[in-house]
Amino acid sequence: MKNKDAIFLSFHTVVSYRLRAFLILLAMALGVAAVVVLTSLGEGARRFVVNQFSSLGTNLVIVLPGRAETSGGFPGALVGETPRDLTLEDAASLATIRGVRRYAPLNVGATEISAGGRLREITLLGSTANMIAIRGMKIAQGYFAANNGPNPADIVLGAALANELFPLGNAIGQRVRLGDRRFRVTGVFAAQGESMGFNTDEIALIPVDHAQALFNTQSLFRILIEAESRSAIEPTKAAVRAALTLRHDGEEDITVITQDAILSTFDRILTALTFAVAGIAAISLAVAGILVMNVMLVAVSQRTAEIGLLKALGATGKDIKRLFLMETLWLSLAGAAAGMGIGYSGAFFLRLAYPQLPAYPPHWAGLAAIATALITGIVASLLPAIRASKLDPVLALSKK
């Protein structure tokens, strides 16, 4: 028997038993769809985190006061102990280090802002103009030109904040009050939305020297450094650590972390998670495989007389095995195709329902699902097909 004929003949058989074909197809399709949808969820989570991190800036090296006892995380912030302050002078000393494209000292605090009788609590950042470039923030109107100081008392408002305080849209040039100090609004940030659980639309930015005066502190919360390139990140990190250690009398009481390291850790974790979820979904494919095996075994015993006849007509055991294998191959292929359809539209509706979650199936998901479906189908039909090919034709023919 020629392959082409076997393919056609088995297709004929598949469509002749409609209910059976539909049920197997459904089981396969659900398994494949589960793989596609669940992996797109995992991939969506991964992309979400990666996007959040890259919205913080690229090639970022961050200096925090205090020593990390364990690797990773933001230990200074958690422990709250700062053996030695990280000062503006420390920050300024980084300007000459090789590999540093720009740096920005950063102070963060909560304070009250008032203007025109309106008062509200905000998160206030104190930094220099470099901060805007490093974090990739955008100023919609006006400017922010602060350096290490001394600076004029300028303030840039987040988009939502500016809207609330000055609903008429005339924020630029207005006066606002922070505590007992007055600032002049020189700019408004473009609306950016949330990033790392931190709504940039509701913050305000003032020059770092004013922030230190306002919070009555000499120490910095962070120094943000942008390295010249991706490959310069590690050498820059080492150089920054060495320089600051030297300035702090040889004591390494600072922590230097790179966003890259954190990002790749998250990336690894979430990729592993996606694979794990795909594995769980593959179990449903295995269940579908067992169903296929069941149904095919029933088919073999139902069509025993037919198998006997084919043998009497001169079909070899191999021919019969091939026919049964191709039957399940058709069913698996159709199931995989239907499952891809269901899975991809499922992911599409997921993206519609949760626009922040970029739930695109990873490029390997479709391939993996189809391959798993085909392999499952073939493995599951192997036993029934071999059983069919080994039937004794005399006994098979005598069965009605």
């Binding site: 028997m1 004929d5 004929h12 001169g314 070899t316 034709p393 023919l397």
Partner: protein, 223 residues
């Protein structure tokens, strides 16, 4: 053409040995019309299955056209079956989901004949068996006589030298049975060796050579 020497076929049923065929010697020249008769369990069906290579003898030698076919592998036997032997069964054994034409086409598909040639050959055979207007009908839509004619058309489409019929009229009434017998005899006149296994004395006596079997042995063999 067919030469069986010392052919035995033993089954074990429980702890008992059943001698379905007991040292059979039989020579059938090409073009013969032969009937095998005997009571149930006499071994006549087993004899037919051995000649048709569906069953393997426990011992003995079977020469088909001077080739020893007992020693062939399963796949080689399938090829011999396909090219030299046609089967007709009491219960027709048509594939229910295939049309009459598709049923007849099956041996050609197994043989690997290209589709265009298949269609032409099926059309010729349909004409010969007077089934032209039934070509696209499924077995369930055919009468018993028509079903058996489809089965005969299928068995003969590859022009086998030997046609084996196991109770070909067993499920048919007298009139349609006679039509089927006429078709078999037409094939015999065309040069095909026809071997009929039957209970039916009338059908058996039409054959030119009549064999009686009992308990796995040939009792009488008359021409």
């Amino acid at each position: 053409m067919i030469s069986l020497s010392n052919i035995s076929r033993f089954f074990t049923m429980g702890d008992q040995e059943v001698r379905a065929l007991n040292h059979i010697n039989l020579d059938i020249p090409g073009g013969e019309y032969l009937s095998v008769m005997g009571p149930s369990g006499s071994g006549k069906s087993t004899l037919l299955n051995i000649i048709g290579l569906l069953d393997r003898p426990t011992s003995g030698t079977y020469l088909l056209e001077n080739h020893n076919v007992t020693a062939l592998s399963e796949a080689e036997q399938a090829k011999v079956r396909r090219e030299h032997i046609g089967f007709i069964f009491q219960s027709f054994h048509l594939v229910p989901r295939l049309t009459a034409a598709e049923n007849i086409e099956l041996p050609l598909i197994l043989e690997g004949v290209p589709p265009a040639e298949r269609k032409a050959r099926v059309a010729t055979v349909l004409e010969e068996t007077d089934l032209m207007d039934r070509a696209t009908h499924r077995p369930a839509e055919l009468s018993g006589g028509q079903r058996q004619r489809v089965a005969i058309a299928r068995a003969t489409i590859l022009k086998p030298a030997v046609l084996l019929a196991d109770e070909p009229t067993g499920n048919l009434d007298h009139k349609t049975g006679a039509e089927v017998v006429a078709l078999l005899e037409k094939l015999h006149h065309g040069g095909t060796t026809v071997i009929v296994v039957t209970h039916d004395r009338e059908l058996g006596n039409r054959a030119h050579r009549k064999i009686q079997m009992r308990d796995g042995e040939i009792v009488t063999d008359e021409k």
